[in-house]
């Protein structure tokens, strides 16, 4: 007699007789019609493909040094040039993308999970639960992420796993606050009052009545979480405390531009990673905006 049974009974006729679309199908249909969203999706897929297929596309191993060919501007052999120790920039940009995207996605999953659970509990129960969770959130939030991660990262040692964990652990407050804010306003809606009057269980009210109203803004915030994590990794690596060399990441490749000679005379060394960060984050933002427009429950009548 669970909620699944009821859902199954309700869903069954839709599939067989009425042939009407599920909200997810409707959302996907709307998403496909959203030009920016599709551009974003295609762009992101291309970037993802390039980075995943890096070993097949690269023309030189990304780690191999070649001091004879160091500091070369783009040419037919190295079409994005080489860095100070003769490593191929094209190869390193591709491989750097693997690291940057993997770190971004993993960290965002961690932070979104923590944030959603805490935010929903806080917004729904209010009172002392809200008080405790929100004061805890306040304490974490009083530290700008870069500041606290920069400090902690130097202590715990630099490696990719630490970067993922630190970003994930310190990035949930935004999600929690956003979810809480939405829950606070949705729970005041008449239909939630009606559900409560009917004696519906809290768990069911939160999951079936409140969360659908939170999903759209939450989805936008998931895209921000992914982007935030990618940017944070890049930023930390840019400051020299993120992904350690010789592993390439877009951030630590961009870091080379902090020395004036590279900035001035070797733009091929830092423009590719800079553009890749920009394009990746841009494509995910497009996808997020499309998702928001597609899933907005107020369109679904």
């Amino acid at each position: 007699m669970g909620s699944q049974d009821v859902a199954a009974i309700q869903a069954a006729p839709n599939k067989t007789r009425l042939r009407s679309e599920s909200p997810a199908q409707q959302a996907w249909r709307r998403f496909r019609r959203h030009p920016l969203a599709m551009i974003g999706l295609i762009l992101f897929c291309v970037i993802l493909f390039l980075t995943v297929a890096a070993p097949l596309i690269e023309r030189y191993p990304y780690q191999s040094l070649n001091l004879k060919d160091k500091f070369q501007s783009p040419s037919a052999e190295h079409f994005l040039g080489t860095d100070r120790v003769g490593r191929d920039i094209w190869s390193r940009t591709l491989h750097g993308g693997r690291v940057s995207i993997a770190v971004g996605l993993s960290a965002a999953i961690i932070s979104t999970l923590i944030g959603t659970v805490l935010g929903a509990l806080s917004g729904y129960y209010r009172g002392s639960v809200d008080m405790i969770i929100m004061r805890f959130t306040d304490v974490i939030m009083t530290f700008p992420r870069v500041v606290i991660i920069l400090t902690v990262a130097t202590f715990v040692g630099q490696n990719i796993i630490n970067v993922i964990l630190l970003i994930g652990i310190f990035s949930w407050p935004e999600v929690a606050r956003l979810v809480r804010g939405q829950v606070l306003s949705v729970r005041e809606q008449q239909y939630v009052l009606a559900a409560r009057a009917l004696g519906t269980l809290d768990r069911r009210i939160i999951l079936s009545h409140i969360m659908p109203g939170v999903v759209a803004p939450l989805l936008a915030s998931v895209t921000f979480a992914v982007n935030g994590a990618i940017l944070l990794e890049a930023g930390l690596s840019f400051l020299g405390v993120g992904v350690p060399l010789p592993t390439p990441s877009w951030g630590n490749m961009l870091e080379t531009a902090r020395s004036l000679d590279v900035l001035q005379d070797g733009p091929w060394m830092w423009v590719p990673p800079a553009l890749m960060i920009l394009l990746t984050v841009l494509s995910i933002n497009f996808i997020g905006d499309g998702l928001r427009d597609a899933i907005d429950p107020k369109h679904i009548q």
Partner: protein, 317 residues
Amino acid sequence: MQYFLRRVLINIPVLLAVTVIIFLLINLAPGDPVDFYVNEEIGITRADLAFVEERFGLNDPLPVRYVKWLGQLVRGDMGFRFKNGDDVAEVLKIRLQRTLILMGTALSIGIVVGVTSGMFIGMRQYSFWDFSLTGLSFVGVSMPAFVAGIFGLYIFSVKLGWFPSGGMWTIGQDKSILDLLYHLVLPAGTLAIFNIATFMRYTRFSVLEVRQEDFVRTARAKGLYERIITWRHLFRNAILPVVTIIGLSLRSLVAGALFTETIYSWPGMGALLVDAVAARDYPMVMGIMLVTAIVVLVANLLTDLAYAVVDPRIRYG
């Protein structure tokens, strides 16, 4: 007024918790700060350092050191830098002021330009302006301070030579407001890009959301002037999430300032933190974290109050 007092008082335990976290983070960190200074080559050995540890009370148990530290903080004494013995509180005062100049300029530009243009395009969905400004705002939101900063430095300073590549004042010249503004253009511009784009985006989101609300249709149905609907019904509701976002953006502004200051050698707190962390200058790191936390706390408080002012529905407790 009672609400105001409650919000202020609520922040005191938060502030205490913040000091505990800072203290624990720094003190539970592996590696002794003095280890960093062991250098046999110039004749500094562990034995010399044991004396230093004793003198600075580094051997006391943790809670004792915390209470001592807190006691000093209350009296405004933040200790001295490991690096060069400067008074941390004095250094912070100067650095904070410079960071606030940078952040304040960027935030003001962000709010004015961002909210105005967000409102403007929100009322004109799918128009030419909507497409172009939304497109630009996407680029702005996707452009982190370090990417914008590097490009800004390369284009406007290295290539075009329009603006100085760093610092706050021209060396050897009298300190004037004009000179300061001249040096402020690139860093503040870099920082403001993200703010303008974020506020524009959120204001637009929010306006579109509220425009679909029934009360807007009702207002229109009962024949109110469009101007009244826009400002009294739409704007007041649409601004709510934006107020939160402005408050939230302060943290990212501090982070952005950290990168901007590093890139343009703006001598503020962010650039200082990067140096202090690298040098394991613990009193300085603790001081910066504390000041940053206080800045954010005050900003949160103001956001909450602003939220209560613009939304009478929000009644806490």
